[in-house]
């Protein structure tokens, strides 16, 4: 009996040490990517190629889901606000919730599952088929050639995708409340414009999405690079990318919100 208890405690300790070790490896890898990204930024064609795969191909899912999120926000907000006779404030509700929270967060979650998983699977498969090792043999640094362009393309495209998500959401809210339900158009826009502040709301949302872009792509490239070179290992790494980056996005969002919006109105 005590032997079994000792074994289970050993198991916990092993898991903790393993995860701390992994965290350290991830940090070292992240710093290595930053150090070696000079060459990939000089050869910007590589980044543009990856921008096509991470940014342009994520556009459809971002635009469509932004539209629907905005429409649902408009509908639900209208249902509640019209009880108090202040349905013209629905523009404020839609715009503030999108610009401050939903735009950066939902766009980052979609980005993690659409582009992050693809990055992990691609790098993991390259490692499994020993393409990365072959590059190393040809004196081509795989981190500078393969990993850094993918990292920077994610970092660049994330703020744009979040902004497009917010714009489509506001448009969806406008479509439902003004065009379909018939809220006054002038008060919809004017109340929104008087409530949304450029520096406080839009710039903070932009900063949030930059943080999310760094977090998601850093996790994605690390999981791919660190994946066991088997089919099972790559699939596990892809799953871990989506799970870890979703959790990191939500946790990071709480921390950033606490710093940005604390104590002011």
């Amino acid at each position: 009996m005590p032997k079994r208890i000792v074994a289970s405690i050993q198991h916990i300790g092993h898991r903790v040490i393993e995860s701390i070790w992994r965290l350290g490896r991830a940090t070292r890898f992240f710093i290595l990517v930053l150090l070696k990204s000079g060459t990939s930024l000089r050869r910007f064609g590589l980044v543009i190629r990856e921008l096509y795969f991470t940014g342009v191909l994520s556009l459809i899912i971002i635009v469509v889901s932004g539209l629907f999120v905005g429409m649902v926000l408009g509908l639900q907000g209208y249902e509640t606000l019209q009880k108090y006779g202040s349905e013209s404030a629905v523009g404020t509700l839609v715009a503030l919730s999108l610009v401050r929270e939903l735009g950066p967060v939902v766009a980052a979650l979609l980005f993690a599952s659409r582009a992050g998983s693809a990055i992990t699977a691609e790098i993991g498969l390259m490692k499994a088929t020993e393409q990365l090792a072959a590059m190393g043999l040809m004196a081509v640094d795989p981190i500078a050639r393969v990993v850094a362009p993918r990292f920077w393309s994610g970092v660049i495209s994330m703020p744009f995708l979040a902004a497009m998500f917010s714009v489509m959401g506001v448009f969806g809210g406008y479509l439902v409340t003004v065009v379909f339900i018939g809220v006054d158009e002038g008060s919809f826009w004017s109340q929104m414009q008087s409530a949304v502040d450029f520096r406080f709301d839009i710039l903070n949302g932009f900063i949030k999405s930059c943080f999310f872009g760094v977090a998601v792509t850093a996790i994605a490239v690390f999981e791919g690079y660190d994946a066991p070179p088997t089919a099972e290992g790559v699939s596990g790494a892809t799953t871990r990318t989506v799970v870890t980056s979703s959790l990191v996005i939500l946790g990071l969002d709480f921390i950033l919100t606490a710093f940005m919006f604390r104590g002011v109105s």
């Binding site: 826009w189 502040d197 450029f198 406080f200 002011v264 109105s265």
Partner: protein, 155 residues
């Protein structure tokens, strides 16, 4: 995929992203309404600011002419010192009257300025002398009840 088509799509993507940011800041936000780069700062002491908050608008005749940037409590006079950043396109006379008003029954509170007739204008760092506190509902009800009670006594 051809290299040039890929470049085209990425270019379109980046342009759309920048356009989305522009729409957010110009159409959704209020960047065009008020430019804080050209502004002058004035202060005012209020006996009671009610629910006034930092970033609340400063309006004159219903037009936004500035924003509240800071609210402090003064231990010398025991009242609230409200700092306002005003758009420099709108200078106000020295004897301008500032009062804390509420937009609508349950709306946000803002500072309303009504211009006086003084020739001298408020400069950067000046202080508004004539202020009117926020209306506090409990005080109003209390005064009303007190008036009613004294009325019924006289009969």
């Amino acid at each position: 995929m051809q290299r040039t088509t890929m470049d085209l799509w990425v270019g379109l993507f980046v342009i759309t992203g920048i356009a989305a940011l522009m729409v957010l800041s110009l159409k959704v936000g209020n960047l065009n309404v008020y430019n804080p780069s050209q502004s002058y700062v004035i202060t005012g002491n209020f006996e009671n600011i009610g629910g006034l908050k930092v970033r609340a608008p400063v309006k004159s005749a219903g037009v936004v002419v500035g924003r509240v940037t800071d609210i402090q409590f003064s231990t010398q006079t025991y009242d609230a010192v409200v700092t306002m950043s005003m758009d420099s396109r709108f200078p106000f006379p020295k004897d301008t009257f500032a009062s804390i008003l509420t937009s609508g029954l349950l709306g946000e509170q803002y500072i309303g300025l009504s211009a006086g007739g003084d020739q001298a204008m408020l400069m950067d760092g000046d202080k508004i002398m004539k202020t009117n506190s926020a209306m506090v509902l409990e005080e109003l009800i209390g005064r009303f009840l007190f008036d009613k009670a004294s009325e019924s006594d006289s009969f």
